[in-house]
Amino acid sequence: METGGCFDCARKKRTSTDRAQLLVFGLIATLFILTVDMMTGGDGPVALLYGGVILLLGPLGRRFTVAVGIALAALACTAFCGGHIAVHDLHNSEAALFAVTLLVIGTATLLSIWNQTWRTTLAELARTLELSHDTVIINDQKDLILYWNDGAEILYGWSRQEAVGRSCQELLRTEFPEAEVWRALELRGQWSGDIVRTRRDGNRLILATRWVLRRDVDGRQVGVIESSADLTEQRRADLLIKASEQRYREIFDSAGFAIWESDWTEAIRISCLSRPTEINLRDWLAGNPEIVNAVLASATICNANEAAAILWGAASREALVGLNWNCLFMDCAIEPLAGMITALDEGATRVECEVQARALDGRVLDLVLRISVSSADAPWSNLLIMAADVTERNDARRRAEHAHAERAHGARVSMLGQLASSIAHEVNQPLTAIINYGKSAKRFLDRPEPDLRELGVCLEKILSNSTRASDVVARVRGLARKTSPETTPLNLVELIDETIGLIQREAQSHSVTIVRPRSSSIPTIFGDRVQIQQVLINLIMNSIQAMAGTTARSRELRIDMRASAPKFVEVSITDCGGGFPAEREGRIFEPFFSTKAEGMGLGLPICRSIVESHGGSIQARNNSLNGSVVTFTLPCSNQPHSAAAVATIS
């Protein structure tokens, strides 16, 4: 198995045959030296050669070395003793030589062991280099490859055999800043930086590399050791991120609607810090608008696009950077902005709110703001805000509402015209009574003995009838008034009864009986009193007119009420006036569609627009009594049309 590097290859190459060869050679040498030593009587310096044998046999192992050392020492002793049987034959020089021999053997043994230890350590280091993922290459001073680790094999695609001995530059086509590198190696003996190399398959690689100058024991340069790590993937990822950021910037800059980024770290900190723990943020901010102001004062704009500059009337995008929110929003925006702060605090990542703002050039703007919190860490540092200018939309809506109110008023006035005779009658009755009582009073007074009691009754009656007449006038005036719609809580039962009172006379003159069955508790509804009354009168009048052709006896008009689907009240007006033409049921709410000869067909469309602008719905169908049922619903909750509202989207 050939996996070794340069250092290790020496050892790995020691197959068992090599070891056997060494052993045999060692044995032969030992025998030769022993023989000579014996022949010379143990006096010769031949025994010194044992040291060489020990060193030779070193690679066979430490324990082996020790064993050999002991064995050879024994042999030297034997030879010496054999040559000097008689102790008295001993000369000083001979004894000294013997001592030196033993010393040499011992030293050689130790040296050999030490050498082994070193070799093991080096071998382990070499193994570490092998296992390293990074590439390690060692070149000599001629740029020929001396060492090529596993990492280099994998990364560059060249195997060890193919690489070792080849010119590194030629093999890998390294691109590097030559002048800088040589200078660094000269001055500091090392250089680290990024280089580009080409793999065997032609792909280019970016590597982070460190080159260290090799010097031999004399200090001469003998090559370079290199360690490199592959940066290609990381670089690619970096490029992608940069490209993505670039795209984001382009979208940000060129978007047709205002976008800006704002740092809210300080702002959120203030809003959280100031709040006592037992109150929730929403209530706290509601009660302390100055806190909201402080929060807004510490929120600054970091970056804005061109459209934002135009929106805010700034000279340039840069002019917006650094502005704080305080100077941009009107006082009435405090509430929706407080709602936005609360939503952010509660963890919403997207919040929408409608606010009134003041541009830098003084214009008042209606804006819908959409705020996004980034999901990266330190999210408050980069709030993304998009703003849509809805000033025009709101203006148009106001104009439409105004036009609608005008139309409704026109319809009311026309309706009043139709009711004129019955209204006149309503006023006439009390007037008649007043005249009668007045004349009666005169007669009572003209008597020889004035009847004061009767007089008193007459005067009382005059007063009560005057009130009755003025009530009718007031009710009519209410209907004729042209005002902008006002949403107030209404008692529907009371409103319907009042309406019935208004058209009672009309119903009577057409011999129509109005029935209003008692209903279980009806919740308060929200709406404009005048407009809802207009709807009721219109529908009732329609039914009365529809029943003109029915037999007088059976003309009944029913008004039912009930609480329907959560938060709505339903009112139904049922008659037996023939119903709607079968195919045309769906069209009766269309403008200018009329089944009546004199009708202009505007009443029902206006009823529908009034009901729908209140948030309800209206429908009509024929019933089983040969008549029609018109049903409309009105909401029980206050739904503001145009006031600022905060909506949390996520």
């Binding site: 009658h425 008649t432 009668n436 009582y437 004349k439 009666s440 009577q508 011999s511």
Partner: protein, 136 residues
């Protein structure tokens, strides 16, 4: 016929009815008041009715129907009709039914009184006036 001296007033509007009654009372004439034609027709003292003042437009049986019914039961008496909605048709119908006088609301009570007096004197009901005086 001497027994027929009661003047009846029929009108569904309470204030009108009451005020007419009060006026006649101030003039010294007592009237019976009814809130609906049906009430009059049910009245046990119907035989004593000498003159009728009635509203035309009422829910249920209206003034003209009342006159018709009275005619059918041969209880015709001089009738004065009051109306807030004067129309040619109503006049013509009334005429055919024998209505003597139509008054348009708001009515001048003096005029009403004069009509009543004229009707009573025109007919053979001179006794009514004296009977009225007796009551007073």
């Amino acid at each position: 016929m001497a027994d027929k001296f009661v003047i009846c007033v029929v009108d569904d509007d309470a204030e009108v009815r009451e005020s007419i009654t009060t006026f006649f009372r101030s003039a010294g004439i007592f009237v019976e008041q009814f809130d609906a034609a049906e009430a009059l027709l049910r009245w046990p003292g119907l035989d004593q009715m000498g003159c009728l003042i009635t509203d035309v437009h009422m829910p249920g049986v209206n003034g003209l129907d009342l006159q018709r019914k009275l005619t059918d039961h041969r209880r015709r008496v001089p009738v004065i009709m009051m109306t807030a909605y004067p129309s040619l048709r109503v006049f013509q119908e009334g005429r055919l039914l024998g209505v003597r006088a139509f008054l348009v609301k708001p009515i001048d009570p003096e005029q009403l009184l004069d009509e009543v007096k004229a009707l009573l004197q025109a007919g053979s009901n001179r006794d009514i006036m004296s009977r009225q005086n007796d009551i007073r």
